[in-house]
């Protein structure tokens, strides 16, 4: 068994957090991951407080185990959903797309454990000072909104810079990734892309099939010009977006408008040609649909084997 500080901090069997993926991470996936011994996450994304409240209540019906909520800090409803997580008694919050400092005091006062996603050492140190209980250091291999550093380079630097536990994210899709993350100084992992093909993940089947078919070189990052780059699988939409991005005559507002709703179109409507199929670089490794429980137990069984056999490299 692999046991780290993250297990006690979150009250979970396995030190694994499911990524807070917009239009993906709903009550169904979150409760399945929590039931399987990981920490399920409902993504508040750009949704309003009513949607989040309903998902939280639905997840509570499906599991007695702890689950968390991811707050996307750029959301127009960030302040509203912040209050919802407090009112609904959520115990763990992860945050993305910014500096959560202004909300952290309220969450901590409400007894919520706060785990921000950070792409740099400076932000990790800053959120630690604001009272974060752990950080998710996410490398740019991940899908969706990405930072510039790779997981390999980011994790050891963050681990050296903060005293709170570090959770590694970006490019982790099997037990080897978990073992490597632990070696880099992390005490847990966050996994997104592999959970896209979980049976309990409610995204459109077309999206799942596209992820299963993906190869290693299939992802691309667009949107750097807008200040929030996104990694997704290459398709017609992404090609057009990249062309518009390269054109100086296209304004940032026009570019934003072109991208609006594209993830929903792929994840919910199944339009994987004209929608944005966000996925990490590890998508090429993912070859079959499984239940969340199968995914988690398989990953940790494999990680244990690798760690046990790691001594063979030593003379």
């Amino acid at each position: 068994m692999i046991k780290t500080k993250i297990c006690d901090l979150l009250g979970v069997k396995y030190p694994i957090i499911q990524g807070g993926m917009a239009w993906v991470a709903d009550a169904s996936l979150a409760s399945a991951v929590s039931e399987a011994g990981g920490l399920g996450i409902i993504a508040a994304m750009n949704a309003g407080p009513d949607w989040l409240r309903n998902e939280i209540r639905e997840a509570k019906k499906r599991t007695d185990k702890p689950f968390g909520v991811n707050i996307m800090l750029m959301s127009p409803f960030a302040a509203d959903v912040t209050q919802v997580v407090i009112d609904e008694g959520i115990k763990i919050v992860t945050t993305g797309a910014g500096n959560p400092a202004k909300y952290m005091k309220d969450w901590i006062a409400a007894g919520i454990k706060v785990i921000p996603v950070v792409p740099s050492v400076a932000l990790a140190k800053m959120v630690e000072r604001s009272g974060a209980h752990a950080v998710i250091a996410e490398g740019g291999e991940s899908g969706g909104h990405v930072g510039e550093l790779t997981t390999m380079a980011l994790i050891p630097q963050v681990a050296d810079a903060v005293k709170i536990p570090v959770i590694a994210a970006g490019g982790i899709g099997d037990g080897r990734g978990i073992a490597a993350a632990l070696m880099l100084g992390a005490e847990g992992v966050q996994v997104g892309t592999r959970f896209l093909v979980a049976h309990e993940c409610t995204i459109h089947q077309n999206y799942k099939q596209r992820v299963l078919k993906a190869i290693d070189i299939d992802t691309v990052v667009t949107g750097r010009r807008l200040g929030h780059p996104v990694r997704s699988l290459k398709n017609e939409f992404v090609r057009e977006f990249a062309e518009l991005e390269a054109k100086e005559s296209v304004t940032n507002e026009e570019l934003e408008r072109f991208g609006t709703g594209a993830l929903r179109k792929a994840a919910r409507d199944g339009d994987i040609t004209r929608g944005c199929v966000m996925a990490g670089q590890i998508a090429g490794l993912i070859k079959r649909e499984q239940s969340a429980e199968e995914i988690i137990t398989e990953m940790f069984t494999q990680a244990e084997e690798f760690l046990k056999n790691a001594g063979r490299w030593l003379l």
Binding site: G98, N99, A101, K102, P119, S120, A122, L123, K125, M126, R129, S130, G147, G227
Partner: protein
């Protein structure tokens, strides 16, 4: 005093000539993204031995200087 120090730190961070940075220069003009801003806030805190409000809405170099001066 504070302005000169902030100006020099920003100039070094962005590898630009310090004389191009004025109090009214915006962070956007310096092409500082949100991560750069976090990094610079941490550096300034260490330099001046202060703690800055991390959610303050700062747009110009002059506003950074005013914020630091209010803490000294």
């Amino acid at each position: 005093m504070v302005f000169e120090k902030v100006r020099d730190m920003l100039a070094e961070y962005k590898s630009v000539d310090a004389s191009t940075i004025k109090p009214e220069t915006t962070l956007e003009e310096l092409k500082l993204d949100s991560l750069d801003t976090v990094q610079i806030v941490m550096d300034l805190e260490a330099e001046f031995n202060i703690t800055l409000e991390t959610d303050a809405q700062i747009k110009t170099v002059g506003e950074i200087v005013a914020l630091i001066e209010s803490k000294l």
